[in-house]
């Protein structure tokens, strides 16, 4: 295990000592989470194994780039479904979420590959898109849930504005703004803390793989900006789409939209 980029099966087996410690802590504090911990770890290992095999085919140097695009489309579709599952069945957000991830992916690809920040090859395209969609997922779910909560908690205020003749967009604007701010602030805070409070995954991976720290920092900074931009784009598109779904075309609030 001299090469930090390849730990081998023994290395993986030894790392499960940390899982055992987690299980012991759960048992000691009587958290009742042992089963969940085991399930989560087995599931993660299985998912990564499958993804590893598939990713190997996609990012192989001889594989056509179209495989990467198909991978990204699948990732967006899966993220949209995952968003729907986490928001619940009260409001259909699948299509809006797909549009949000799609818009962010298109913008990110245009900047990073169109301006040749990274070379347009599967080895860069697939991981960067994954990083972007994965990080945006939390913000997208948060903004959707927050928008629904704004209707539940401040529906009277929204209707008071509608009753004065405001359009649905104007009547809901302060609430949409509040929800969007709440979704973006965690990512902004995370961006502020990077390098001081935590070393992000991409940088850790590059350093472990033996890349020069300075080069790793440059890549990580670009990735952080990618993630921040993606979170902002997806959360904004989601806010616009969900806000629209909460009202009828004649500017009535759908209070019972389930």
């Amino acid at each position: 295990m001299d090469d930090a980029s390849s730990i081998g099966w023994l290395g993986l087996a030894l790392s499960t000592i940390l899982v055992v410690i987690t299980i012991v802590l759960s048992l000691w504090r009587q958290l009742g989470l042992t089963r969940e911990i085991v399930t989560a770890c087995v599931r993660a290992a299985a998912q990564l194994a499958v993804v590893g095999l598939a990713l190997g085919l996609v990012i192989d140097d001889d594989a056509p780039l179209v495989f990467s695009w198909i991978w990204i489309v699948g990732m967006v579709a899966f993220a949209a479904q995952s968003t729907q599952n986490r928001v619940g069945d009260r409001l259909s957000v699948r299509a809006v979420a797909a549009a949000a991830y799609g818009a962010a992916t298109a913008a990110a690809i245009a900047v990073l590959f169109g301006l040749q920040v990274f070379p347009l090859e599967a080895r860069a395209l697939v991981p960067l898109a994954g990083m972007m969609v994965g990080n945006a997922l939390g913000a997208v779910v948060l903004v959707a849930k927050r928008l629904i909560a704004e209707v539940d908690e401040h529906g009277d205020e929204v209707e008071a504005r509608l009753a004065l003749g405001l359009t649905a967009r104007d009547a809901f604007a302060p609430h949409a703004r509040r929800a969007l701010r709440q979704a973006l602030i965690p990512q902004i805070e995370k961006t502020k803390a990077v390098g001081i409070v935590f070393l992000p995954g991409a940088m850790v991976g590059l350093v472990l793989a033996g890349v020069d720290a300075q080069d790793a920092v440059l890549v990580q900074a670009a990735v952080m900006f990618l993630v921040l931009g993606s979170v902002a784009i997806t959360a904004t598109v989601m806010t616009l789409g969900v806000s629209r779904a909460l009202f009828t075309p004649d500017h009535r609030l759908r209070r019972h939209f389930e």
């Binding site: 209707e159 008071a160 009753a163 004065l164 003749g165 004649d250 009535r252």
Partner: protein
């Protein structure tokens, strides 16, 4: 069937909410002048009817017309400026009292805002944070906010029910003044004495139906005891 073209015409309106019938085959005309009181017990359908008139809800069956035009055919934002709604509980928005008036009319001049606040008796509060107003002050501000777009009708859902007697008298006096300026009221009330003091016409509702409508005198002298009782304390 209701046929009057001026004001509201409600034809065969039925509405269900949560499996319950809130309005049941309602036929009614409401003139766009004076003060029309909607009275009846809790759950009679008064507030539901008011929301339909403002276009915040649509009926499951039947039509609501404004000056003879089906609300479904109107630009709803424009309609709501013509028939402003004042809720039972005053809902101040963030910002000053002046900011609140400009939510409804962003281009309202300082002079216009000042005139309206003078009309409702709170001109001295123009720069005060609206969320710190007393109940009576906040309700007056909401009435000024409703007036800023010069509506023909104000739809008021028990606007004095949360106020003390002094504040209530002030709002009632203000309502009478506003009627004098040519603005009509449709006023939901639980208070028989207030209805007798204020209303020109009364609509008595019960369990989603209209029991009777007419002038206050006609309702007070109605042949049906249940209708007459609605105007008794």
């Amino acid at each position: 069937m209701a046929t009057e073209l001026s004001g509201f015409t409600v034809d065969g309106v039925t509405q269900r909410r949560g499996g319950r019938i809130t309005l049941d085959s309602v036929d009614l005309t409401i003139a766009a002048s004076g003060i029309t009181a909607l009275i009846g017990r809790s759950g009679a359908g008064k507030s539901s009817l008011l929301r339909l008139l403002n276009g915040l809800d649509v009926p499951d069956a039947g039509t609501v017309r404004w000056h003879g035009v089906d609300l479904a055919d109107l630009d709803m934002t424009e309609h709501r400026r013509r028939v402003a709604h004042v809720a039972q509980r005053a809902i101040p928005f963030d910002g000053t009292v002046a900011d609140n008036l400009r939510v409804a009319a962003p281009t309202a001049t300082d002079e216009r805002v000042g005139d309206l606040l003078r009309q409702v008796g709170i001109a001295h509060l123009v720069e005060q944070d609206a969320t710190t107003l007393s109940g009576g002050e906040a309700q007056r501000m909401c009435i000024a906010r409703a007036l800023v777009n010069e509506p023909e009708v104000i739809l008021a859902d028990e606007p004095t029910s949360a106020l003390d007697p002094e504040a209530r008298d002030g709002v009632e006096s203000l309502a009478a003044d506003i009627v004098g300026d040519g603005v009509a009221w449709v006023w939901v009330s639980h208070d028989a004495a207030q209805t007798r003091r204020l209303a020109d016409r009364v609509v008595v509702m019960d369990e989603g139906r209209v029991l009777a409508s007419g002038t206050t005198e006609q309702i007070a002298d109605h042949a049906e005891p249940a209708v007459r009782r609605a105007l008794e304390d």
